[in-house]
Each structure stands twice: as C-alpha cells, then as structure tokens.
Amino acid sequence: MDLQGFGHLLLSGAWVTVKLALTSLAFGLLFGLIGAAAKLSNFRLARILGTLYTTLVRGIPELLLVLSIYFGGSMLLMWLASFFGYTDYIEISAFAAGVAALSIAFGAYATEVFRAALIELPKGQWESAYALGMSRPQTFFRIILPQVWRLALPGLGNLFQVLLKDTALVSVVGLDELMRQAYVASGSTKEPFTFYMAAAFIYLGLTAIATASTMLMERASNPVSRGSRA
C-alpha cells in the first residue's frame, strides 16, 4: 500500500481518535453510573429521568446526536449565557461536541450494563458492610463498585468497541481524526480506496487492542485467575 507520504497524517488522525475515545469513555462511565443510580433510586422522579435518558438516547442515531450538539449546542449555550449578560458568539469545538455526544450515547447503554450488574450483586453485600459500620458512600466505593466492575466489564468492553467505531462520526463536523485525515489524503492523491482501506486497517488494529485489553482487565478483576482464594 503506497501512502505517498500521507502516513504521518493518518497516524496523527489515529491519535486524535484515541484521545476522543478515551475522553468520551471517562465521561461515559460517569454518566452510566449516575444513570444506573437514578434508575435504581427510591425516588420516583429520578427513576423517570433515568428511563427517559436511556430511552431517548438509545432510540436516536448517534450521528443526529453529534450534529445537534455541534450545531444546536452553541445556540443553546448562547441563549443560556444571555441570562448572565454575555452576548458574544460562543462556538463549541468539534472535539468538545464529539466528546459530549459520544459520552451521552455511551452512558445510556452503560446505564443498562451497570444496572444489571448492580441487581445481580447479592443484597447481603450491602447489609454486611452496614453491619460493619460503613456509611453508604464507603460501602459503595469499597464493597460494591469493585464487584460491580467485574460483572460489568464484558458489557462495557463491547460498548467501548462501539464507541471506538462511532468516533468516525465526529469527522462529519470537521474534527481532524482518522476518518477526516483519510478524506483529506484521498482528496489530494485521488486514491480514495487506498486511504479508506488504510483507515479501516488502523480501526481494526485499534479495536483489536481494545479487545485484548478488555480480556486482560477481565482476567485481572477475576479473583480466581489472580490466585486468591475468593
């Protein structure tokens, strides 16, 4: 495959893709935990909001989400800022819009994964921690989260694969990630097949790395393979 000196451009695009995916993953996990907490909450309003979040976001295309946040987001922000007397133009960067859209989408699916894992955990785990005098946050972070993590990991791994592939959508609003750089390179060389194929192989490599690291993390989180007697 002759890349005619555009190889470094593709690699720099791949680096932006990786940064975008990891940033969205961090926010997405946070949204997922908040969503799961809301859906399992004792408050009816929180449950309704949680259900609304997952139903709405899982039913509309990710591309539509990216476009609405990029084009609609700055209007919304300007409108909010006008209440504080700020009237200048506000623009959302393509990266920020991408992170927002991808993490909202990831969070909606992660909510279901975390919820299933939280339900699967025996209630006695909470009760025994309370009996030892731990507070609710202490119980959650020390006892529940490490176990939920292990149960949720396979599902989250699949979601991360989807997230990694969805980063290509952010090229539509002009972020210089892998897909966009392949577009630029194919435009100046008139060899679109070569460059989209190269991009496809880089994506394959990235998803393969993601799969391998999920497998390693699954093994590390499993007490049996760690050699402990749990």
């Binding site: 539509l64 006008s82 290509a168 090229s171 897909m179 194919s186 679109p192 994506y203």
Partner: protein, 246 residues
C-alpha cells in the same frame, strides 16, 4: 434564542419524505442482509476450518471497522479503479443510493450472521440428533429443523440489530442521500433552526424504533408460542396423581 414551532410544521412533509427513504433503506438492506447472513452463519458453524475461514474474516472486518469507512470505501473507493469505471457495475456504483444499500447490507449481514451462529449453536443437541435418527439428510435438517429453530431463538436479538441498523441508516446523509437525517440537514441549511428540526427528526426516529420494538414483541409471541403455552392436564389424570396438577 427563539423557539419556532411553525418551522417544524412547515417542513414536516419534507421530513416525512426523508423518513420514507430511511425506511426504504432499512427494509431493502435488511432483507439482503439476512439473505447473506444465513449462508455466512452456516459456513461459520462448519466443521472444516477452511470453510470457517472466509466468514470469520468477513465478520472480523465488518464488525471491526466503522460503518462510515465501509460506506466511503464503496462510494468513493470504487472510483479509484478504471476497470470498475469501465465495467457494468459502474451504473450501480456511481449512485449513492445503491452504494448505501450495498454498504448497509454487507454490514448488517456480518452482525446478523454472528447472531444466527449463536442461535444455531443454542439449539438443543437432541433435536439435531433426533432429525438424524429419522434419517434426514443434512440439507433437509437445515431446512426443516436448524433454520426454523434458529429463527425463533434469534428473534429478540435481531430486533436490537434492526434498531441499530435504523440508527446506522442516518449515515446515508454523508453521501448526499436525503434520508431523514439528510433532509433535516438540508432544511437547517436553509432555515438555520437546528434545535427545532433535529428535535423533530429525533422524535420521528424514536417513533420508528418504538414501532419496531412493538412489532418484534408480537412476532416473538407468535413464533415462540410454545414458551407461552400453558399445558392443560386432563382432570382424570390429576385424580390419579395430584402432582400432575399444574
């Protein structure tokens, strides 16, 4: 910011036009996708590693790369080769409509093949053995036992795949097609009311997914009747042995 409901009303007919194209794309590529997925899945469960190799590579490629790359590879990539431009396929490959259908069909075929493979492997072994004991040939077994059973098992998962395909069909807008998303973008370019029009498009997508989910619930109830069927034990038998009751 001024919220303008009238713009939604004014452009609703255009949005519905786009909705129709979206549904058309999903329906056509869904059907072609299943037609491709069944042989792929059957090859994938073959005993010979040589037969398994092709579907494995196919599924690995299509599930490991973004749909957008696949669409661009077909729509922009095909024009790189003079041989393709001279051939009869060019009539098809120069139209964004057919490129989108090819890309969506091949993409959904990979995902569905993996689902069907799981379903085939979930069929209880005894049912295949029973068919063999009755002297059915391999093709008859597949036609009468394996595929009908796999179809019932795969149904709930396929419903999810269909919704993912509906969402993926929005990518058709990137190759100039005026599907629901494409139409929304065109309207916004003219009116500059992104929030209103994207909201309307989002609601339409939600409604379509809702209808899909409802249809699949009904279909599932009908095809997996045996799971909902309550066995009625004759009264005389319960008199002989009360444990048979329910």
């Amino acid at each position: 910011m001024s919220w303008d409901w009238s713009v939604i009303l004014k452009y609703l007919p255009r949005l519905l036009e786009g909705t129709w194209l979206t549904l058309e794309l999903v329906a056509i590529s869904g059907l072609i996708g299943i037609a491709l997925a069944v042989p792929l899945a059957l090859m994938r469960v073959s005993n010979s590693p040589w037969v398994r190799a092709f579907p494995f590579a196919y599924i690995f490629f299509f599930r490991g790369t973004p749909l957008l790359v696949q669409i661009f590879l077909i729509y922009y990539g095909a024009s790189q080769f003079e041989a393709v431009k001279q051939s009869v396929f060019w009539e098809v490959l120069k139209q964004p409509y057919w490129c989108a259908i090819i890309a969506f069909s091949m993409n959904t075929a990979a995902y569905s093949a993996e689902l069907i493979r799981g379903a085939i492997q979930a069929i209880p072994k005894g049912e295949i053995e029973a068919a063999e004991a009755l002297g059915m040939s391999k093709p008859t077994q597949i036609r009468r036992i394996v595929l009908p059973r796999a179809f019932g098992i795969v149904l709930p998962a396929y419903g999810n795949e269909l919704i993912l395909m509906l969402k993926g069909s929005s990518l058709a807008s990137t190759i100039t097609l005026l599907d629901l998303t494409g139409m929304a973008r065109t309207i916004i370019a003219r009116t500059y009311t992104p929030l209103e029009i994207f909201l309307a498009a989002g609601v339409i997508y939600l409604l379509i997914s809702g209808v899909f989910i409802g249809c699949f619930r009904l279909l599932e109830k009908r095809l997996n009747r045996y799971q909902h069927y309550r066995h009625q034990v004759p009264v005389e038998l319960t008199k002989i042995d009360p444990r048979l009751q329910d």
